[in-house]
Symmetry: C2
Subunit: 338 residues, 2 copies
DNA sequence: CCTCCTCGTGGAATCGATTACATCGATGAC
DNA sequence: GTCATCGATGTAATCGATTCCACGAGGAGG
């Protein structure tokens, strides 16, 4: 693979001149520029990004650490992040934490070692010392979707969606359809989204004069299996809930599995709703009522905030809002008999 | 961020010694090793991977260019590739081509500029000059799932699944259920998987004495929308097909959309099957019969082959086989009335 | 006691770019 | 005619590691 000095040699100029042409510095005579360009083309020269990064102290790469690639919400997020980054001339390196703190740490470390210009994180757990370190030692950082608190992290912008209103809409929807005993499959308490969704659900219930007994809160981990287990416990209750709200799409899937394996039907026997909407929910039996996040906007906003930080501009947190997408999994659609 | 010379200074040794400790070279006295390690810990020093890469000519990073991140098959592939790579001490940089040749080129270029040690590609189109170049200029390369032919590419191993037998099983399954007019939603002719699946389908049909008229082959592009369009054309035929086979999961989804929007039912009015199995197919209405690829094995084998190439060992192509997973979308399961 | 080898360590070149500074010829002002 | 200025280019330092080579100390062998 040819290096800059090969180009220089072939064009009969110095490496400095070649570099100037490549970075289109104004002070280069047109004919020497042409000579250099010709040499570049002849050799099929491509500048070595590694060497360039070493010298300039920037890689034009962003790190994105997500909790689970197999979750369609995160893959959509990853996709929009990549799109936005590419538009701004950055690449994205994705790390999949698989909801495991140790893997999350592994990726943060690797990315920082590779000197990515900035880090986008959707943290899996409470807070690892490593991430605190990264934030403190100056790696520009932005949280997406989930975030963590901790000293030194006040400066880190958070780009997220507030599902409060949508959750309230969902509870209203369920209430209108006659459901009174509602249960929730929560995400890990260590995650903000895990806690927030339960809180939103609880306060919405209160608004409608409904209680949320302890045995109607099941602890999940955002994976399908846990949705299954929690649902099994719900259904074994003497008075099983009439409606189940899963805090993410994977757990909703697990819940559906369990319900179906018992020969019960959605929504006739149990209503089901999920946080996070995905294309497949339209095609399940029945189509699942969900709370949709503006995933694309989330990704774009996150990249925007991160690049602002990287380029030294002040970056602000962003909160978007989710909306309810009613389908048939909670009961007949509006306009028909309940 | 401290550099190696800061560590050297603090430990009172030279940078050479620090480097030796870091790469655990045997010739270092135990007490100086301890001094260095202490300095490393004190400063929170982490070696700069960029500088190291420049010097050693290796990044310990693999590039993976896939056709579409939103397709669950590819995200599962990406995940297994990352797992396998991590086990071997490599990172993975993913590029999403979104089924667009220009984006594919963009990613190949970026990855090669970044001097990744090897490239895993599932090519979107026929063959771009850029990829040929990359292959020829010595970047170790392996094709996964799809591949392209061309001079200079004979050396590139292909890790794929052969769906032939499974497609034959599917046709047998459809035939046994009484379906005779079968149609296929094909993938782009520029991709090998696009062509192969049609060929396998056609020869399986021939085996059963069935024809595949031109109007029963619809040209799709592996995206949901095209599945919808092609299905619409099928259903507008004077004698619409009794069964539709989609060459990937996204097009199956589109087909289902279209069928349902016309008030028709699967499988009563039209049977439906798909290449690529995904978790959601269990939950659709009805569950969709699919041909499952051993995605995890695919990813592992691909990484194995690529690392073999990188480390100078001979690498062989690998062909795994797919299997039919019958569900309800083609008709009642075995054992009941047809 | 001298030589030779080994061991531990440091000095310095190197990877491939960017860029501050120096150089040099030409131009223009006075 | 002289000098300052400017434009185009080259020289060399630099980024942060790795690694070849040299060197001195100490031990073994003669």
């Amino acid at each position: 693979m040819p290096a800059i000095k090969d180009v220089a040699q072939r064009a009969g100029v110095s490496v400095a001149t070649v570099s100037r042409v490549l970075n289109d510095h104004p002070a280069v005579r047109t004919d020497t520029r042409d000579k250099v360009l010709a040499a570049v083309a002849d050799l099929g020269y491509r500048p070595n990004a590694v060497a360039r990064s070493l010298r300039t102290h920037q890689t034009r790469a962003l790190g994105l650490v997500i909790s689970d690639v197999l979750n369609p919400f995160f893959t959509e997020l990853a996709r929009s992040v990549e799109d936005a980054a590419r538009d701004r001339g950055y690449s994205v390196v994705i790390g999949n934490a698989d909801e495991r703190p140790d893997l999350q740490d592994h990726h943060v470390r690797t990315l920082v070692d590779r000197r990515i210009d900035g880090l986008l994180v959707s943290p899996t757990d409470g807070g690892s010392p490593l991430m605190l370190d990264a934030a403190r030692t100056g790696t520009p950082m932005v949280f997406v979707d989930r975030w963590i608190e901790g000293e030194g992290l006040d400066e880190v912008p958070v780009v997220r969606t507030d599902g409060g209103a949508a959750v309230r809409d969902l509870v209203a929807h369920l209430h209108a359809l006659g459901h009174r005993r509602l249960a929730i499959i929560a995400g890990p308490a260590a995650t903000t989204t895990g806690r927030e969704r339960v809180d939103a659900f609880r306060s919405a219930l209160r608004e409608f004069g409904l209680a949320l007994p302890a045995d109607h809160i099941g602890q999940g981990d955002f994976q399908a299996d846990s949705g299954r287990r929690v649902t099994a416990r719900f259904l074994d209750l003497p008075h099983p809930p009439e409606a189940i709200f899963a805090a993410d799409n994977l757990m909703a899937l697990g819940a559906m599995d369990e319900i179906r394996s018992r020969g019960l039907r959605v929504p006739d026997d149990v209503a089901l709703a999920a946080f996070d909407d995905i294309p497949w929910f339209v095609h399940t039996d029945p189509p699942i009522t969900a709370i949709a996040q503006p995933t694309g906007d989330l990704g774009h906003a996150a990249v925007g905030a991160l690049i602002d930080r990287i380029e030294g501009r002040p970056a602000a947190s962003v909160t978007l809002s989710a909306r309810l997408v009613p389908r048939r999994s909670c009961g007949e659609p509006e306009g028909s008999t309940p």
